[in-house]
């Protein structure tokens, strides 16, 4: 009963989306706007099905997801380690903190041409860009989280025979987890932004490439189909991430 009403509520929450979809279809059918600027949603859906059938969407999607996942994974592994090391060793913090402060506000899309010069037009430049763009939110989350670890927990672990590195792994890392997971969520959203923008500018495959290519050729219903696919993937990734994070932090009750 409660579970039913719960999922009912969830669906109800998204009715505005349905209204927008209807409105979209109507304004386009009634030609209130130019159908080249906004083809009817039903035609976008037809185009979407065609692209799935031809494999165009899947192939480009796999290319994009590979880049996004690789860049994000690197940023999490290196970013989290850096943040925790900074929180624990003052000298590292003194050396790295100014770099973080200067680099943080830089719009990472400005680095798209730079990464292309370094690594060319293929996967490498996109992965590097996503890694650079996503690392700092992870680092900052890990840093703040690690700094919040309680003295008495550190002492407890030490008094039970944990040497320093062991204690770092057993106490500081889990203490940092809530803020670290928040940082990773930000990084996840950024990874989609950087992925599509870098592919729009220079790429031979991927979602961004497809959007740019279809748009340039006036194939607008297919272009919209790709835009909607990316939007949905971003949303689904965020929801899935939240579910995982909730499980990891189940102890917080």
């Amino acid at each position: 009963m409660t579970r039913l009403t719960q999922s009912g509520k969830e669906i109800f929450r998204y009715t505005p989306l349905l209204l927008i979809a209807l409105a979209w279809e109507m304004v386009s059918r009634l030609e209130l706007v130019s159908t080249t600027a906004l083809p009817p949603l039903s035609e976008v859906i037809v185009a979407w099905i065609d692209m799935i059938k031809s494999g165009e969407l899947i192939n480009n999607g796999i290319a994009s997801l590979y880049r996004g996942a690789a860049g994000l994974a690197l940023s999490i592994a290196i970013g989290a380690t850096l943040g925790i090391v900074m929180a624990w060793w003052k000298t590292v913090n003194l050396l790295v903190a100014p770099l973080v402060e200067v680099f943080y506000p830089l719009p990472k899309s400005a680095l798209i041409p730079v990464t292309v010069i370094w690594l060319g037009f293929g996967d490498g430049s996109k992965i590097l860009l996503i890694f650079l763009g996503c690392m700092l939110p992870v680092t900052i989350g890990a840093f703040n989280g690690a700094r919040s670890s309680e003295q008495v927990l550190v002492w407890s672990a030490r008094s039970m025979g944990a040497h320093k590195l062991r204690m770092l792994w057993d106490v500081v890392v889990p203490s940092a987890m809530p803020e670290l997971l928040n940082g990773i969520r930000t990084a996840l959203a950024l990874s989609f932004i950087l992925l599509v923008s870098s592919e729009l500018i220079v790429a031979q495959k991927g979602f961004g490439y497809l959007i740019g290519y279809l748009g340039a050729n006036g194939n607008y219903d297919a272009m919209y189909a790709v835009v909607l696919s990316v939007a949905f993937l971003g949303f689904a990734a965020d929801r899935a991430y939240l579910m995982i994070a909730k499980r990891v932090l189940a102890w917080r009750e």
Partner: protein, 263 residues
């Protein structure tokens, strides 16, 4: 006394250096010797440095002036020969009751079946069977402190350092925990140093009570407080009541001094 002393604190002073502001002399020339399996309470007003002394013995703070020997060896850092129980439990919130109790045993490299069994034994000892898979956030204050005590006892330290362990509990739970601690202590005798500002608690639990002065912390006097721990009505015993009164007046002087200094 000296020959059988397990812990020797000799002329220890400690300067507290806050991140901002002036440094404060927290402990001033403290000397005390504690015998093997003795139960000693450190009693004094808030801010008298009794916890600081405990942290120094635990090796959590560096001994800068004077010396602290445990079994003849100078303390240079924390170690599993000295287990500690904190006022706010200091449980690992991401570990279950079982996970917390297992932690020290894992660090000792005990075999899996052996440590699982030992953890369960100690969870039972503190009466938490049925809660082994609960997280600390799901437990009451008393249960959290039982878990913390089980966690510390399980890895079998020779010395038990207790930092106002019942200070965060309500009065009823505190009374229960006191008699429970005595029961456990009689079963697994250890040297205990117990920090408290509760006079009755100190007299009830300890063999000797060291009364500390207001800041800078000094040991004002050490009073023998051996009573029959198994007597349920010890609180009404005349000798007990007089001892509590005697200690109360000693502590009150210091508490007043401490207040005066703050104003």
């Amino acid at each position: 006394m000296a020959a059988s002393s397990q812990i020797v604190v000799d002329n220890v002073s400690h300067l507290y250096r806050p991140p901002r502001g002036r440094e404060v002399l927290a402990l001033d020339q403290i000397s005390i010797e504690i015998a093997n399996r003795e139960f000693v309470a450190l009693l004094g007003p808030s801010g008298c440095g009794k916890s600081t002394l405990l942290y120094l013995i635990g090796g959590f703070l560096p001994v800068e002036t004077g010396s602290i020997l445990v079994d003849g060896i100078p303390v240079v850092g924390p170690g599993p020969d000295r287990g500690i129980v904190f006022q706010h439990f200091a449980l690992f919130p991401w570990k279950t009751v079982r996970g917390n109790v297992l932690y020290g045993l894992e660090r000792q490299g005990m075999r899996k079946e052996e440590r699982e069994k030992r953890a369960m034994d100690f969870i039972q000892l503190v009466g938490l069977q049925g809660f082994e898979d609960s997280y600390p956030a799901q437990l009451s204050g008393g249960m959290k402190q039982r878990t913390a005590i089980a966690r510390t006892l399980a890895f079998d330290p020779k010395i038990l350092l207790m930092d106002e362990p019942f200070g965060a509990l309500d009065a009823q739970t505190r009374g229960l925990m006191q008699s429970e601690l005595l029961r456990i202590w009689q079963r697994t005798p250890k040297t205990v140093i117990f920090v408290t500002h509760d006079v009755q608690e100190a007299v009830y639990l300890a063999d000797r009570v060291a009364v500390m002065s207001a800041r800078p912390g000094r040991i004002k006097t050490i009073v023998d407080t051996k009573f029959d721990k198994n007597d349920r009505d010890i609180h009404k015993d005349k000798g007990f009541v007089e001892k509590v009164d005697e200690l109360w007046s000693l502590v009150r002087e210091e508490a007043i001094k401490a207040q005066g200094k703050r104003i």
